[in-house]
């Protein structure tokens, strides 16, 4: 049997763990943090202006036009939804598989999920022509007869899937937070701090009976989240797969999207964890290189799955004998947007293969760079799917191009501002590592220690 790596380094006691993790919430941050927060906030405000202009004047501010009716907003929506998958996946699937190494990263991954879904969720609303009426996508009782929604539309499925996913992820994340919030409450000196965290912790006391129900519900949520997380990206992929457009109308899309989502999600987690390890040195004991390496292995695996999907799409297009289908795929790789295809393939398939080298997958700088490439590649994957399929479809008379504007770039980068702004606030307000989950695995992998 291979010797197990310790999950927490530095021979910590229970109190050390509590102190280490709570310190971030209980002390004032330094200048670096404020600088990061302000720049994220600046980007966020810029984002609000961009989206405000689009709402004020119309979707035509962005580069989309006939026939490319979806562009940046939908691409970035799928991108963020994909990012949002790793959190629940790490939490739920790894939990079900009893992967103890998940404890260190689960909380931040879940938070990332929630914030990514929030960031993502704005896009489908804002991309509509009349966003102030986007609530019409909900089947609520109304005075129009009542008039319901079209349950055959993948966009309605999206509404259900994304809102369910957002709700369940948020609940999952929050339920995980409850005992830790109680810890912070009990450590609080300030009465208001005590009250606020007390209210958030629901008055948690940690009796054995509470833990009994708590563990059960946590496992149930994990069990429910697992099909949910798979369904969400499947349904997002249905947005494309259910359409009859060549390049979209493919049965491989659900697994391909899920693999891509896991891939991009882990990419983002690695990015965030690399930053967190640097910014908060004490976390190096909790988020160990061993953890990072594990994630990199998953990135490499899913990268190959995604690569397989790319290849199989081409094969199926060729095998189908459908000339328009064949054209779309050749056009993808060699048409006017061919560059985006090759960016995608390079970033998603070739670059992650560097993780075959142990040196690379266990060194922070290269893995950080690769994770950024993964993020870029996955954005372009959605770009390739959305834009290259739309711009040349059945009737050549309606073919056209897509030319981004300031409002496209603004929406992409601005959404990062929103995400990082929320994430940075979270880092200082809530425990970024699950205190209650780390403690039981404190001694895992330590020589001579009993398994707890």
């Amino acid at each position: 049997m291979i010797a197990r790596q310790p999950l927490v380094l530095g021979n910590k006691s229970l109190k050390d763990v509590t102190d280490d993790i709570c310190r971030l919430v209980e002390t004032w941050p330094g200048g670096k943090y404020y600088a990061a927060l302000l720049s994220a906030k600046g980007l966020f405000l810029f984002y609000l202006c961009i989206q405000g202009m689009i709402v004020a004047f119309g979707m035509g501010m962005q580069g989309i036009s006939h026939p490319v009716m979806w562009g940046t907003d939908i691409i970035t929506f799928v991108f963020w939804i994909g990012i949002g998958h790793a959190g629940t996946l790490i939490s739920a699937i790894l939990f079900l598989f009893r992967q103890k190494w998940r404890t260190a990263i689960a909380r931040s991954a879940e938070a990332m999920t929630v914030f990514a879904v929030m960031t993502a969720g704005l896009f489908p609303i804002l991309h509509t022509g009349r966003p102030w009426l986007a609530y019409w996508l909900l089947p609520y009782p109304n005075q129009r007869g009542p008039l319901w929604v079209n349950f055959r539309s993948p966009l309605v499925w999206d509404v259900f899937a994304v809102s369910t996913y957002a709700t369940v992820s948020m609940v999952f994340w929050y339920i995980g937070l409850v005992p830790d919030l109680a810890t912070i409450r009990d450590r609080a000196k300030n009465i208001w701090r005590k009250r606020i965290y007390g209210a958030l912790s629901l008055g948690w006391r940690g009796t054995a009976r509470n833990w009994n129900h708590y563990e059960m519900v946590y496992m149930l949520l994990a069990g429910l989240s697992t099909p949910l997380v798979l369904s969400v990206h499947s349904i997002v992929s249905f947005d494309f797969a259910v359409a009859q457009l060549p390049g979209w109308h493919t049965t491989i899309f659900p697994p391909y999207f899920v693999a891509g989502a896991i891939f991009s999600g882990f990419g983002m987690v690695v990015t965030l964890m690399c930053i967190m390890r640097e910014v908060i040195p004490s976390f190096k004991d909790y988020v160990t290189l061993h953890h990072m390496e594990n994630m990199n292995k998953i990135i490499m695996t899913t990268s190959m799955m995604v690569g397989y999907a790319y290849a199989s799409e081409f094969f199926v297009a060729w095998y189908s004998g459908n000339p328009i289908e064949q054209f779309i795929f050749v056009n993808r790789a060699f048409g006017p947007f061919g560059w985006s295809y090759w960016i995608m393939v390079t970033c998603n398939v070739f670059i992650p293969q560097l993780f075959w080298f142990k040196k690379i997958r266990s060194t922070i700088v290269p893995m950080f760079i690769i994770s950024i490439f993964v993020n870029i590649g996955m954005w372009f994957e959605r770009f390739v799917i959305v834009v290259t399929s739309l711009h040349r479809d059945f009737l050549p008379s309606s073919w056209g191009m897509w030319h981004p504007t300031l409002y496209d770039t603004g929406a992409i980068f601005g959404s990062f501002g929103m995400f990082f702004f929320i994430f940075l606030i979270y880092v200082r307000l809530l425990p970024v590592i699950s205190i209650a989950e780390v403690k039981p695995v404190l001694n895992v992998g330590k020589s001579g220690a009993h398994h707890g």
Binding site: N142, Q143, R144, G145, P146, L147
Partner: protein, 182 residues
């Protein structure tokens, strides 16, 4: 503890029940939010339907001539008013200032700007003619106009109002969207 539970249960059931009633009322047009039901603007000339249609018993279509053939029932042109008011100038034996106002407008070619009471948005294409052809009484939608001194919007004219009537099997009316929206 028991009392608390009972209160909680009653409260919970009450809220659920209330919600269901609300949903029912909204979707079946029992309760209307918005839509200006009962809107009753003042008119430049206080023409009384209660007097003309009620007391004098004029048929609606005597004035609203186009209702049977056109989309609009149309407010009558002043020459229709003048059919009678060329001679009728008095109310209760006294010269009426309002009739004088009407005659003045007619003589000077100055159209009267009536306040619109029943308003459908631009994207709704209602057509009076087929409804009258189907035997609908004006009062079904416009209410007892013959009793109104000042006309008000009697029904909500929400989409639900239209649809719930079209739906009734005895009306044999279409409910596809392009019936009204195009």
């Amino acid at each position: 503890m028991a009392a608390k539970k009972i209160i909680g249960a009653v409260l919970g059931l009450g809220i659920t029940f209330g919600f269901c009633v609300f949903v029912y009322a909204i979707t079946n047009n029992k309760v209307v939010i918005g839509y200006n039901q009962n809107y009753e603007p003042t008119q430049p000339i206080p023409y009384s339907h209660a007097l003309h249609a009620g007391k004098l018993g004029l048929n609606c279509k005597y004035c609203h001539t186009t209702a049977e053939i056109s989309r609009h029932a149309s407010v009558p042109p002043l020459n229709v008013c003048m059919n009678c008011h060329l001679t009728v100038r008095q109310v209760n034996g006294k010269d009426s200032p309002y009739i004088a106002q009407l005659v003045d407008a007619y003589m000077n070619d100055k159209p009267v700007q009536w306040q619109k009471v029943n308003l459908l948005p631009d994207h709704v294409k209602f057509n009076h003619a087929p409804h009258i052809k189907a035997g609908k009484q004006c009062q079904e939608c416009h209410g007892p106009v013959e009793t109104m001194d000042r006309v008000k919007q009697y029904q909500s004219f929400s989409m639900g109002y239209c649809v719930n009537c079209h739906r009734r099997p005895e009306n044999n009316a279409p409910t596809n969207c392009s019936t009204c929206h195009y």
